[in-house]
């Protein structure tokens, strides 16, 4: 008690000053809307700064918890990788590549750098190039397994893709009933491509899905669905309009598909042509 009184005696001037000064400032602060607003904004800013500093300190001391969570996540991922290696699923991750197990197709992740959709010769630039293992003629699909186009040229770090929305684009397609066709773009609509040379023995229907038929891509890659079809004038084949499955104006993250046997196929084709 004696020490407390001594302590109060030691600091009473300071305490009294703080009380009187605080009261004077409070009276002044509440004397007009201007001073009230100004002082309120200053004290709020100071409060925010103090709060921010406290949060930073709290975050610093929360680092062990974050580390524990990350370690748990690493353990989960390790288990997943082991499961994949043991063949529980059909795909494997190698670095940033997704490889189909016992498959000739290898997948590379890529992001769209720039693209056009309003021209006759539209192009798409992706952030992967030859240094990432990308080369000409590789297929490009969405993560939902929908066709986008094919790689037409590469630099070290980037590649140019010829999308379906390019009048020079052409690829093979297969209707749901097995009928083959050639897919191309007339330039009329950025939501539709054309299918031509559909066999008269095929039975196209509206709503029928059309998949890619190409050595550059695995089976099951969707092009779109038939919206209308007709027999050509010579009645030798059908032609159809296909609504593109991929949203070509909202492409972001894509997959570049590499056929590891494509070089062999290309060489064989060249030999045959010679």
């Amino acid at each position: 008690m004696h020490r407390l009184l001594e302590f109060i005696k030691l600091i009473y001037v300071l305490v009294l000053f703080v009380v009187l000064e605080g009261f004077a400032l409070w009276t002044y602060a509440t004397s007009s809307p201007y001073t009230e607003a100004k002082i309120l904004s200053r004290t709020t800013a100071m409060g925010a700064a103090v709060s921010g500093a406290v949060t930073n300190v709290e975050n610093f001391f929360a680092l062990p918890e974050a580390n524990r969570q990350l370690t748990e996540r690493i353990a989960e991922l390790n288990e997943e990788i082991l499961g994949l290696k043991e063949g529980c699923v059909d795909t494997l991750y190698r670095g940033d590549e997704l490889v189909e197990k016992d498959s000739k197709f290898r997948y590379h992740y890529a992001s769209v750098v720039s693209m056009t959709t309003n021209r006759k010769h539209n192009n798409l630039i992706l952030d992967r190039g030859t240094l990432d293992g990308i080369s000409k003629d590789m297929g490009v699909i969405t993560p939902e397994n929908e066709l986008v186009g094919y790689v037409v040229s590469c630099s070290d770090h980037y590649c140019v893709v010829q999308p379906m929305l390019n009048i020079d684009f052409s690829t093979g397609g297969r209707l749901e009933d097995g009928g083959l066709c050639v897919i191309w773009w007339s330039g009329a609509s950025k939501y539709e491509v054309e299918a031509k040379e559909i066999s008269v023995y095929s039975e196209p229907n509206v709503g029928m899905s059309v998949e890619v038929r190409s050595e550059r891509l695995p089976e099951g890659v969707l092009i779109g669905t038939v919206t209308e079809y007709e027999l050509n004038s010579t009645k030798s084949a059908y032609s159809a309009k296909i609504a593109i499955a991929a949203n070509m104006s909202k492409l972001d993250d894509l997959l570049i598909v590499e056929n590891t046997h494509y070089g062999e196929i290309e060489e064989l084709m060249n030999h045959t042509q010679e």
Partner: protein, 171 residues
């Protein structure tokens, strides 16, 4: 009691001067002399801080009531009272003991006295104008107001200060 009369007289004169003359002068927005801090500066140095602070409170309240300061005058005078001894020590390297009965102000050289008064004026005017504007949008104008007003206050107060020290404090 008799010793206090000159100080009370000086306080009344300075308050009168400030309220009825200096505050009515409209020289310029950035030139506003204020003499009333002199009351706190000239109070006996041997006085304990608590008495100086209570005196400053009384002067501040009178100024606030008279000029509608709403606490502004009190809020700027109180720190002056608390920091008086510290400023004196920093500017003149002289420390004051509570039991010191000799008048320190009369023993200071003119240079030391000027530094002490100027420092007190700058401190008071800085607090006053910053609190009054509550804005740093035009910092140059704020600094100019503080410096020029402090300078003018020093110039006006200097004869009063010298007269008071020579006629009252020395005796």
């Amino acid at each position: 009691m008799f010793r206090s009369v000159p100080y009370i007289g000086m306080t009344i004169i300075l308050l009168f001067l400030q309220i009825f003359i200096l505050d009515e002068l409209s020289i310029a927005m950035w030139l506003r002399p204020m003499l009333f801090p002199l009351i706190v500066m000239l109070l006996p140095m041997e006085w304990r801080t608590i008495w100086v602070m209570l005196s400053a409170l009384v002067v501040g309240v009178i100024m606030d009531v008279s000029l509608g300061g709403a606490g502004l005058y009190t809020a700027t005078l109180l720190p002056l009272a608390v920091m008086r001894r510290w400023i004196l020590y920093v500017t003149t390297h002289r420390s004051v003991e509570s039991g010191d009965q000799t008048s320190l102000l009369s023993r200071m050289s003119l240079r030391q006295l000027m530094i002490y008064v100027a420092a007190m004026f700058v401190l008071h005017h800085s607090l006053f104008f910053i609190l009054e504007t509550l804005s740093f949008v035009t910092p140059l104008r704020l600094v100019a107001t503080i410096v020029l007003s402090s300078l003018l206050s020093l110039v006006i107060s200097w004869p009063i200060l010298r007269l008071f020290i020579s006629k009252i404090v020395t005796k």
